[in-house]
């Protein structure tokens, strides 16, 4: 019925008001009297308006707003001007497709009725059916260009369908059926459209139809397209990507032939339904062979192709040649040829060949050795230098320095802008270059002379036109305040700040103008006036959530994320904030937000959200490897300090999101490597108790690990954790963990007879509290900031633990920029485990698997992984400790270009047997003493990748520990040797030492 309403809009009305059906009769009657010109309904003009009605009674604009908009009022005489104005204003709201005004007499007056037909706005647009990918359903929706909240028309639907057909045909689908299915939402005037698409069979390529001046064989052209498979020569199915790659392939073919002006155009694609074949129709104009000759300097071919854009653009025109000449000049200047001149000369085409010469005069090679700045008082030289591109020569990064005419001009402009934006409107910056500086041939010096001039200050600031917002709050945001430097840059900042405040408060049409004049007393102090035109404020009429995209998600979960309420100012910030919160739920692949009818002249608008749920299941497979001192067989006792080893790794993750439609997640993460096997099952409940800052998770873990050299262990663990985001930087964790760890006796590298405790399975129940405070500017590559962690745990019988102890671990890391290029990063980590109610050796009270094990990649590079601290006095394998102290210091700097950096580091620290044994002493007393501080220095390379820096570290340990190790083949040998193996078999007990040199490969910064 509603569809019929769209097609024959007045049917419904005519069935209700039969008098309109008689209208043609009236017209005929009037036409019978030719003397009468169709009047402007003069009979009603001037009569008093007794009543104003609307048909239908329920209008898309709320009653109060409706009568505010309408100039026609009850009790006023009827005037055609006012009627016209009323129609115009109603239509301008955007909510109507048609408006008709009727009048009927009533007593001595007239009743006026507005008969309206609503307009429609685009709601949810989706595509489904049998869609052959590519294109994807998302691409088909995008191709429709039906934007959420915009006005719908039949013309826009036709365009949408045509665009989709073109997209399908571009992907070889020439017989699609596209049928839009409509769902109408009368309440919010939305039309939801689902395109039911049957894409049909994809056509295969056929031999292309090629015309033009080819200059190469058709076979080579077809081969370059790769439309046909290699060897078997069957034609591939057509897709847009293949067509695009095919054209690029032909262009590359011509480029290899040096036909740089070759034009390759896809004119059309003909479809042969009998064969289901797509025949590309190509037009090719090969053009002559063009030889590019740099004269005066030799460039590698690849560099030449990068610098001269004619290769990339597949065209030769004057602008590209000028750009190429400029690029060559800039490159030469970067190589120290600061006076380089480059011109180009095109030769005529002779027998299909032409030459393009770049005439290069390099001039003498220079080195920029000095940059001086004088005349600056307001800004320090360091401040100005930090903003400059020019660099003096240095060993690795810029061997000749960085200089060119354009860079010098850019730096002059930069310094000038810095001064002008701080009120120095009359500043002059002059650069003088001096060749053969200090008599050294080829050495260049640049001197920048600055005449600052007087600083202009703000004398007063007036805000005019502010009526609806708080003037004081606006003034508080301004950069231009009394006594502050005056500059147009600051005025621009103020304009942005003021307009942003207005836009946030629902004033989309606010405008800003300004003027200034010198004050009466001082020409360098300015009175500034900001004139605001606020415009009409707009409000939220209602927030509309389109439920078409919600198949699993509970509407209440979505509703809780809304930051807007009816009556709120229409703030774009709040709209996008809600959009972000919906994305943060992690259950939606797409969230669209729009203001419905944005151009309509109404003050109250619907804010509409469309969502598309993400796929609920995801599977991830990963491969990796570790190469470090991790090797040695599991049961051998001959390498307590570790051997070089390679550990490949495979991981498989399965995740199900949006459990119960409530945004919960369950995931299974498994990892298998030569070092460990692990499976972790996690259930996550974000926004616990409807609090945004609280998340609860339940975890079960099984791990079979040989990370620690001394033993293999199996661990079963379950934990419950509540995390609380206190602020953007700070998160607290409250956790209960219960685990059962059993050491694999066959892999134990210490005598079970000596320390029976350590070979027993253990149960530990720990209640812990943790804090993470992250104020770094960038968590992947920080340059400034601070990073703190704290972990405090209590293991007690009451929690199901066999052992009672308190565990404390804390880390503090800070990052400090030094100049423009260097970062000093430091980290201090301390930890202690204290056994409760213990009178004996504290080390023996803590089971092996619960102790601190450290050293290696991320803690102390003077040791291989987990090799720091006390060692078994017999076998020499590390046995962990109950106290930990590590300090790392790094100087990070760029090394080569922008992607390769270097690090100089110093690591110090160790694992100690107890808190009382912590010592900064740097010498080892004897081979049984491990409670001293080991130092290591080293150098590292960092290569920037999209997932973090790839890291190689080479460390030299200054004072690694000596220890005595029993060289046995397996544990049985150890058992057979008795309680004191070194007495029984003294020849098998050898003195060993951790190697001075350690190396590590990894991803991510050390800390």
């Amino acid at each position: 019925m509603v569809t019929e309403l769209l097609e024959r809009p007045y049917d419904k009305m005519s069935s209700v008001r039969p008098q309109h059906a008689y209208l043609p009769g009236l017209v005929l009657l009037i036409a019978a009297f030719p003397g009468i010109i169709p009047a402007q309904s003069n009979a009603y003009i001037g009569r008093s308006v007794v009543n104003i009605r609307f048909d239908p009674p329920r209008q898309p604009i709320e009653g109060e707003e409706l009568f505010q908009i309408l100039p026609l009022k009850r009790g006023q005489p009827l005037s055609m001007d006012v009627v016209r104005e009323s129609i115009a204003r109603l239509f301008a709201t955007g909510r109507y497709a048609d408006i008709q005004v009727d009048a009927e007499p009533y007593n001595q007056g007239v009743i006026v009725t507005f008969r309206t037909r609503n307009s429609w706005f685009v709601g949810n647009v989706s595509a489904g059916g049998k869609v052959n990918d590519p294109p994807t359903a998302g691409q088909l929706v995008n191709a429709s260009r039906l934007e959420l909240g915009t006005a719908y028309s039949d013309a826009s639907l036709d365009q949408a369908v045509n665009s989709q057909r073109r997209l399908l045909e571009g992907n070889g689908l020439f017989t699609p059926a596209v049928r839009p299915v409509f769902d109408y939402d009368d309440r919010y005037q939305q039309i939801h459209i689902r395109f039911q698409i049957e894409s049909g069979r994809r056509a295969r390529f056929a031999p292309p139809d090629v015309t033009g001046d080819l200059k190469v064989s058709l076979q080579r052209i077809v081969a370059a397209t790769k439309f046909r498979r290699w060897i078997i020569h069957t034609w591939k199915p057509m897709t847009q990507a293949r067509v695009s790659r095919g054209l690029e392939g032909i262009r590359n073919l011509y480029q290899k032939e040096n036909r740089l002006e070759a034009k390759v155009t896809l004119e059309s694609v003909r479809y042969d339904p009998a064969r289901n074949a797509a025949i590309p129709v190509l037009r090719i104009e090969a053009g002559p062979r063009i030889q590019v000759n740099p004269v005066g300097y030799k460039f590698p071919k690849r560099r030449l192709q990068r610098l001269i854009p004619i290769y990339e653009e597949h065209a030769v025109d004057h602008d590209l040649l000028v750009e190429g000449a400029g690029n060559l000049r800039d490159y030469l200047q970067s190589q120290g040829y600061f006076e380089a001149q480059v011109e180009f000369k095109e030769q005529a085409v002779i027998r299909d060949r032409a030459s393009l010469d770049f005439l290069i005069a390099t001039g003498r090679r220079h080195k920029l050795v000095s940059i001086t700045i004088d005349g600056n008082h307001y800004f320090s030289t360091e401040t100005l230098r930090s903003r400059m591109f020019l660099q003096t020569a240095n060993f690795l990064q810029f061997p000749h320095g960085r200089f060119s005419g354009s860079l010098l001009r850019r730096d002059e402009d930069t310094i000038r802008n810095v001064y002008e934006s701080n009120g120095f409107r009359d500043v002059k910056v002059t650069a003088v270059t001096q060749d053969d500086y200090r008599g050294n041939p080829g050495e260049l010096a640049v001197a920048l002379h600055i005449e600052e001039g007087r600083q202009y200050l703000v004398n007063s600031v007036q805000l005019e036109g502010v009526e609806k917002l708080n003037r004081e709050s606006l003034l508080a945001r301004l950069s231009s305040t009394q006594g502050q430097p005056f500059s147009e840059f600051n005025v621009a900042l103020d304009r942005d700040a003021i307009l942003a405040r207005y836009f946030e408060s629902g004033f989309p049409k606010a405008t800003f103008e300004w003027n200034s004049k010198p004050s009466a007393n001082d020409p360098y102090r300015l009175d500034v006036v900001f004139k605001i035109t606020e415009g009409q404020q707009q409000f939220v009429r209602e927030v509309v959530i389109n439920h078409q995209g919600l198949k699993t998600t509970r509407p209440s979960l979505v509703a809780r994320q809304l930051q807007l309420n009816p009556g709120d100012p229409l703030s774009p910030t709040a709209i996008t904030d809600t959009q972000r919160r919906l994305y943060d739920l992690g259950v939606f692949a797409k969230v669209d937000a729009a203001i419905q009818n944005p151009d309509g002249d109404t003050d109250r608008k619907y804010v509409v959200y469309n969502m598309e749920e993400a796929a609920r299941y995801s599977v991830g497979v990963g491969f990796g490897a570790e190469f470090a001192r991790i090797g040695g067989c599991q049961t051998c006792l001959d390498a307590p300090a570790g051997q070089a080893g390679f550990s490949p790794r495979v991981s498989l993750d399965v995740t199900r999101i949006n459990l119960w439609g409530a945004g919960h997640t369950v995931s299974l993460r498994t990892r298998v490597s030569t070092l460990d096997r692990r499976a972790l099952l996690n259930y996550s409940w974000p926004r616990f108790g409807h609090h945004d800052s609280l998340n609860v998770s339940f975890t079960g873990l099984y791990e079979d690990s040989r990370d620690v050299r001394t033993f293999n262990f199996k661990r079963w663990e379950q934990s419950e954790q509540l995390s609380q985001k206190v602020s953007k930087a700070t998160t607290l964790f409250y956790r209960y963990t219960f685990r059962r760890v059993s050491v694999d006796r066959s892999t134990l590298k210490i005598s079970p007879l000596l320390i029976p405790l350590l070979s027993q399975p253990e149960r530990v129940g720990v209640l812990s509290f943790a804090l993470i405070q992250d104020r770094r500017d960038d968590p992947v590559e920080p340059h400034r900031g601070i990073y703190n962690t704290l972990d405090l745990g209590l293991a007690e019988h009451a929690f199901g633990s066999q052992f009672n102890y308190v565990r404390f671990l804390a880390r503090n890391a800070t990052y400090h920029p030094i100049g423009k290029r260097f970062v000093l990063a430091r980290s201090l980590e301390v930890g202690v485990i204290h056994a409760l109610n213990n009178n004996g050796d504290p080390l023996n009270a803590i089971p092996l698997a619960e102790r601190f094990f450290g050293g290696g990649n991320n803690s102390q590079r003077g040791f291989p992984d987990y090799q720091a601290g006390p060692r078994d006095l017999t076998t020499g394998f590390p046995i962990g400790g109950t106290a930990l102290l590590f300090n790392q210091t790094e100087l990070r700097f760029p090394l080569i270009g922008d992607n390769i950096g270097g690090v100089l580091f110093h690591d110090m620290g160790n694992i100690f047997s107890s808190i009382g044994k912590v010592s900064l002493r740097w010498s080892q007393h004897n081979e049984q003493d491990f409670n001293y501080t080991v130092h290591a220095v080293g150098f590292g390379i960092r290569y920037r990748t999209p997932i973090g820096p790839f890291r190689v570290d080479l460390a030299y340990s200054i004072n690694p520990p000596y220890f005595r190790g029993f060289k046995a083949n397996n544990q049985q040998d150890l058992v057979n040797a008795g309680v004191d193996p070194c007495v029984t078999y003294p020849a098998k007990c050898v003195l060993q030492r951790i190697s001075h040199f350690q190396y590590f490969f990894s991803i991510g910064q050390t800390f």
Binding site: A21, N42, V83, R84, A88, F91, Q100, T113
Partner: protein
């Protein structure tokens, strides 16, 4: 719309004369602006008055008039967006006086003509104001940026036997007209224009 037609209906027309009657409706929508049927009729009447002919309300003329008014709406929108200055009342008064003097012997004849054509002086003034505004728009928006060379002016002056000033004026004017046409074409393309066919039948 279904049409029912019967003799009792005709006889009942007298009674129908007291029932609801359409007094205005949308004829054309141009973006979010409208041209109503009364706008259209008024425009036909005023133009007929200016030309001294009988108003032609045929569908063809209504369509032609609507077409002109569409262009007017597009230009009005551009004027608003660009804040071009509109002619003041003081500028328009002499134009109206001039029109009266040119077309009518006295004020009484002028008033009778207005009554005969069913329009008011305000209607006429609005059309005159629009014509003035249009000229100013073309002058500021297009003519001021038209460039002509001395050779082109001399060639046109020779060809049409005009003075240099007249030839230059003519050349600028014709080029500006071309630009106006192109601009109108582009503006139409960018704007949703819907003609309500029932008004043009």
């Amino acid at each position: 719309m279904r049409i029912r037609f019967s003799i009792p209906l005709l006889l009942g027309l007298a009674a129908f004369a007291g029932r609801a009657e359409i007094i205005d409706r949308i004829a054309v929508s141009v973006g979010n602006r409208v041209i109503t049927e009364s706008d259209l009729n008024r425009q036909i009447r005023v133009v007929a008055l200016q030309n001294g002919v009988k108003p032609d309300f045929s569908p063809a003329n209504r369509r032609a008039t609507a077409d002109k008014m569409i262009e007017q709406k597009l230009i009005e929108r551009e004027l608003e967006n660009s804040r071009y200055p509109l002619p003041s009342a003081a500028e328009l008064a002499p134009i109206l006086d001039d029109f009266k003097k040119t077309h009518y012997p006295d004020d009484a004849a002028y008033r009778k003509a207005l009554a005969d054509y069913g329009i008011t002086e305000r209607d006429l003034l609005e059309v005159l104001a629009w014509e003035r505004t249009l000229l100013r728009f073309i002058e500021l928006r297009f003519e001021s940026s038209v460039l002509v060379t001395d050779q082109e002016v001399a060639a046109l002056a020779r060809q049409n036997r005009l003075s240099t000033a007249d030839a230059e004026r003519s050349l600028i004017s014709s080029r500006a007209d071309q630009q106006v046409e192109q601009w109108l074409k582009d503006a139409r393309r960018r704007t949703t224009i819907i003609m309500h066919q029932e008004v043009f039948q």
